[in-house]
Symmetry: C2
Subunit: 182 residues, 2 copies
C-alpha cells in the first residue's frame, strides 16, 4: 500500500528510522502491524520495495537489449524518472536518504539488487558471448552501478537527473560489449 509507505516515510523523516516502531507506522497508516508485515515483510522493506520489483520478467526481457544493456538501463531510468516527475511523486527518491544513512536499509538494498542481478543475468547470456558466471558479474555491475549513481545523485543534492549519473558511472562497462558483437 502506497499510503503505508508514505506515512512511514513521514515518521522516519520526523523522528529517524531507528526511533520509529512498526506499531507506530501501522497506527499512522490506520492498519494493523500484521498488515505492514504482510505487505512489506520487514521494516527495511518499507523503504526497499523497489521500482524494478514491479516489473515482470517479460517486461524486463523486452526492454533489455543483451547487446547493449547499459543503454537499456539508462533508458529505463530515464523513463521511470520522467513518469515519476509527471505524476509529481517524490516518494521513490525520498527513500534514497536512508540507503545512505541506515546500514540496515543499505544491507537490504544490496541484497535486493543482488537478487535482481541474478534474475537479469540470464538475459545477458548470448550463445557465443558471456558465460553464466560472466553474465552474473556483468549484471551485478549494472545493478550496483545504479546504486552508486543513486548515491552520487543524492550527495550532489538531487538536482540533476539521475540518468546522467548512471550513464557516466556505467560507461566503462560498455567496453565489455564493444568488442564482441555476436
Amino acid at each position: 500500500m502506497q499510503t503505508i509507505q508514505e506515512r512511514a516515510l513521514d515518521l522516519f523523516d520526523e523522528r529517524g528510522f531507528a526511533n520509529v516502531t512498526i506499531e507506530q507506522v501501522a497506527a499512522a497508516a490506520e492498519v494493523s502491524p500484521s498488515s505492514v508485515y504482510r505487505y512489506f515483510g520487514t521494516k527495511e522493506g518499507l523503504l526497499v520495495a523497489d521500482e524494478f520489483d514491479a516489473m515482470s520478467p517479460e517486461q524486463l526481457r523486452e526492454r533489455f537489449d543483451p547487446l547493449d544493456p547499459v543503454s537499456s538501463l539508462v533508458a529505463a531510468v530515464r523513463r521511470y524518472e520522467a513518469a515519476a516527475a509527471e505524476q509529481g511523486v517524490e516518494t521513490p527518491w525520498r527513500r534514497v536518504r536512508y540507503f545512505v544513512s541506515e546500514p540496515a536499509v543499505r544491507a537490504a538494498v544490496c541484497a535486493n539488487l543482488e537478487r535482481i542481478a541474478r534474475e537479469v543475468a540470464p538475459m545477458l547470456q548470448t550463445p557465443d558471448g558471456l558465460t553464466p558466471g560472466q553474465a552474473r558479474v556483468a549484471a551485478s555491475a549494472l545493478a550496483f552501478g545504479y546504486l552508486a549513481a543513486l548515491e552520487l545523485w543524492f550527495e550532489d543534492g538531487g538536482e540533476h537527473p539521475i540518468a546522467g549519473y548512471v550513464e557516466e558511472g556505467l560507461s566503462p562497462l560498455r567496453a565489455i560489449w564493444a568488442g564482441a558483437d555476436d
Copy 2:
C-alpha cells in the same frame, strides 16, 4: 574468536542456521551471549566475518594494481586459497553454503561486499582514468564477481580451485582497463 565461529558452524551444520540460537552458540563455545555479540555483532556476523576484513588498507593498497585489478584479485584469491590449504583450515569455505541457503546471511554478505567495494574504489581511481563513480562501479563488479565465483565454485561441488572461477567470471572486466593505459 576462531573457536566461537567453529562451534557455531558445527551447530549450524547439525541443526540448521535458523534452529540455532545465539545462546546455544555461546554455550557450545563456553562464553556468554554478550561476548558473541561483542565479537560478531550479529548472528549473521558469525558467518560473514571476512577474509578481507583482516587486511589493513595499506595491505590492500600495496597488493592492488590500479591498472590491472582483476589480476590483483585473482592473485589474492590464489594466495589466500594456498594459505588456507596449507594450514588445513576449511572454515573459510564451510561458510559459503550459508551464503547460498540463508537469505539473511546472503544479505549480510552483500552488504559487506558493498562496503569493501567502497573502500577499494578510491584505489581504482587514476588521474586520467576512472571517475569516482566509475571506480565504484568497477569495485562493485570486482567484489560481486568474487561472490558469483564463490557460488559457482560451491555449486560445482567445491572441487576445483576458486581462483579459476574468479578468473573466468571477471575476465570481461579486463576490457575496462585494456584500452586506456594511463
